[in-house]
């Protein structure tokens, strides 16, 4: 259990053009359109708009359709939100209803993030649905 690096197969994940630009690359793993999954998606979007407006990317992976992706990110619980960037990798499980815990989990400090958020970078978030 001494691994510190993630085991994500790199080929399956689009690389960020700007690895350390302060953008958040988030991946939400769900399994079908369950109540928990839908709640998590809604909560995540709301949360990102509130705290990370304009500097986040969300990728939603439905494991029902892509079960092979579960092992790579060590997914057990559903839903799981993985913060791929900025490093280090973080995992948040649950429907993200507890905003405070999501903040802690994503390591977001509201004051710093508020300052970093500049109008130039504000834009629509890219949400991919595989």
């Amino acid at each position: 259990m001494s691994e510190t690096e993630s085991e994500i197969p790199q080929s399956e994940i689009p690389q960020s053009d700007l690895p350390e630009d302060g953008r958040y690359r988030l991946r939400l793993y769900v399994a079908g359109q369950t109540a928990k999954s839908l709640a998590a998606m809604t909560n995540l979007k709301r949360f990102c708009e509130e705290h990370l407006a304009g500097r986040y990317e969300i990728e939603v992976v439905d494991l029902m359709q892509n079960p092979q992706l579960a092992a790579g990110d060590q997914i057990l619980a559903i839903p799981t939100l993985v913060r791929r960037l900025p490093a280090p990798l973080k995992r948040i499980i649950g429907d993200l209803s507890n905003t405070e815990k999501v903040l802690v989990g994503l390591d977001i400090r509201p004051d710093l993030d508020a300052r970093a958020a500049s109008p130039a970078e504000a834009g629509s978030p890219t949400v991919k649905q595989p």
Partner: protein, 569 residues
């Protein structure tokens, strides 16, 4: 390894319902459980750290993939796939190869509490998806979850976990997967998280105990729903050959019995036995103190067997094979040629090298591989251990050999044939024949004697024999039994010499008396001859006198006639 081990183990009651079973391929375990684990259901294998749970589970998967055509998924919650591959390589399993062939899939599930933040409702659907994906990818029939309890350290919502575990075991049954769930032994219950509550079809408990600084692994089938099973604790062994469980002993004594006779190579000993040797497949005990010649009697048996082209396997605990070969040369036995021809093999090991179980398991394996006709254990009394275990070990050893129809020769240093320090572990009653070698001390010398205490099923001499070892080989000499008692060695020689001298004296006396009688007879005959000669002489004289008388009478007659003529008659 492939042969069914059902010959030793409890027997299946006839009325037992036929529950589908998935063979584990673990020698002995399938015998104890009458076929293996319940097919299509989860079984719990629990035990303390280091007792072999993971190896048991891996063996189940590897055998499934290699022998029974059932691919398997190993979901490891503790070891990484590469660690697992490396660890089981020591058992001779090529897990990497099986993974490459798509017969086994390993998925390492990493559960790190510090990386997980819980922010609301969740379930473990991800685990199901991973498992389902791996199972579908290789068409798995078997799965192992090792150790699923790790989940409890990663997730804080126990209610969710327990609900999900229940769902998982239900899912396993639904999919018809034969599963092994491993669990760490907990205080007061079989597993820390009470997994036995969920997996109730079959529970196997592994144990690793240290007694007298020797570790023995044991296995017990705690429960097996819907099936009979052996209820004892069975020792099991993990070594380079994998796992073997050794069912203690069969209750029946239903060995095939042979009428064949095995000559001992010692003419005098064969002569003592009504059948001209020992029965094949019997157990022979040779007891005697140090230096009474046990090993050489064994060597003689071995030499005779090898000379007949039979295979012999000798487990020796006090000497090396080479040493025995050298020593046997001094009594004119060339064992070296049998070793070279491959008919004879010595397996030498110090008794303290392994525990009794290990010794037994090693013997069983070697015997099954070498397939000998004769096995020698020299000396049995070198094995040390707790008395109860020693007794069981010897019993199983004898069983092991008898069930295979192998003639077994055991030596024991104890005169009474017992094993333990207090002497209540009798092995002699297990044996079919018992040769007792005894050193007799008298007149400042020791001589070896040999008794045949018993030989089941044949008449045998009840007489003591003097047992001599020389360059010419082993010989039995009839001991002197006479008015002066039983004499051996020099005393026997002296007594025999005295008797010989006395006999000579008697013979000489007889001859002298015969000569005397002859002489007297001859002298009498001589006298008779002389008298007869006198008689003849006398008779001759008598005839002459008679003749003269007649002639004189005639002369007188004629003269008288003449005178009458002259007178003018």
């Amino acid at each position: 390894m492939n042969e069914p081990a059902a010959e030793s183990g409890p027997t299946l009651p006839d009325s037992a319902p036929a529950l589908p079973k998935a063979a584990t391929g673990i020698e002995g375990f399938d015998a104890v459980t009458f076929g293996g684990l319940p097919a299509g259901r989860p079984s719990l294998v629990c035990g303390a750290a280091g007792c072999g749970k993971t190896l048991f589970a891996t063996t189940f998967l590897v055998n499934g993939a290699t022998r029974y055509g059932e691919p398997g998924v190993f979901m490891s919650f503790e070891e990484r796939a590469e660690d697992l591959v490396a660890n089981v390589a020591s058992l001779g399993y090529d897990l990497g190869g099986l993974i490459a062939q798509g017969k086994i899939a390993v998925d390492h599930v990493r559960v790190e509490r510090s990386e997980i933040e819980e922010t609301g409702d969740y379930d473990l659907e991800g685990l199901f998806i991973r498992l389902g994906f791996a199972v579908d990818a290789i068409g798995a029939k078997r799965i192992v979850l090792d150790t699923i309890e790790t989940l409890f350290s990663g997730f804080s919502d126990e209610a969710v976990l327990r609900a999900e575990l229940r769902r998982l075991f239900g899912w396993i049954k639904e999919r018809g997967l034969t599963a092994i769930i491993t669990g760490e032994r907990g205080a007061g219950q079989l597993t820390r998280q009470g997994l036995e509550e969920y997996v109730s079809d079959c529970v196997v408990l592994l144990d690793n105990r240290v007694e007298d600084q020797i570790t023995t692994r044991r296995l017990r089938v705690v429960k097996y729903r819907g099936s009979a099973h052996g209820t004892n604790e069975y020792p099991f062994l993990i070594d380079a050959e994998g796992i073997s469980v050794l069912p203690v002993t069969s209750a029946e004594l239903d060995y095939p019995v042979s009428d064949g006779v095995l000559a001992t190579g010692i003419a005098g000993l064969d002569a003592m036995l009504g059948a001209g040797g020992f029965y094949r497949g019997s157990g022979i005990l040779i007891s005697g103190e140090a230096g009474t010649g046990k090993t050489m009697v064994c060597a003689s048996l071995v030499d005779a067997a090898c000379a007949r082209g039979e295979r012999c396997l000798a487990f020796v605990f006090e000497e090396s094979g080479a040493q025995i070969v050298r020593n046997a040369r001094s009594v004119g036995l060339d064992l070296g040629r049998h070793v070279e021809s491959g008919l004879l093999r010595y397996e030498a090991a110090r008794p303290s090298l392994y525990g009794l179980e290990m010794h037994l398991a090693r013997m069983q394996r070697d015997i099954d591989r070498f397939r000998p006709d004769l096995v020698v254990v020299d000396p049995l009394s070198a094995l040390r251990g707790p008395d109860a275990e020693l007794q069981a070990t010897v019993l199983r050893m004898a069983d092991l050999l008898k069930s295979r129809g192998i003639t077994a020769v055991f030596t024991s240093l104890r005169e009474d044939g017992s094993l333990g320090r207090d002497g209540d572990i009798g092995v002699s009653s297990l044996m079919d024949a018992w040769i007792k070698l005894l050193n007799v001390e008298a007149n400042g010398e020791r001589s070896r004697t040999l008794y045949l205490i018993k030989a089941r099923g044949m008449s045998h001499s009840n007489q003591v024999r003097e047992f001599a070892m020389s360059r010419e080989g082993l010989q039995l000499v009839d001991a002197y039994i006479g008015p002066a008692g039983v004499l051996t060695g020099t005393a026997r020689a002296v007594q025999e010499a005295e008797e010989a001298a006395a006999a000579l004296r008697r013979a000489q006396e007889n001859r002298r008396r015969q000569r005397e009688a002859e002489r007297r007879r001859r002298s009498l005959e001589r006298q008779i001859d002389e008298l007869r000669a006198d008689l003849d002489a006398l008779a001759g004289e008598e005839a002459i006198l008679l003749d003269e008388d007649e002639r004189r009478e005639a002369a007188l007659e004629s003269e008288r006639d003449a005178r009458a003529v002259r007178r003018g008659g």
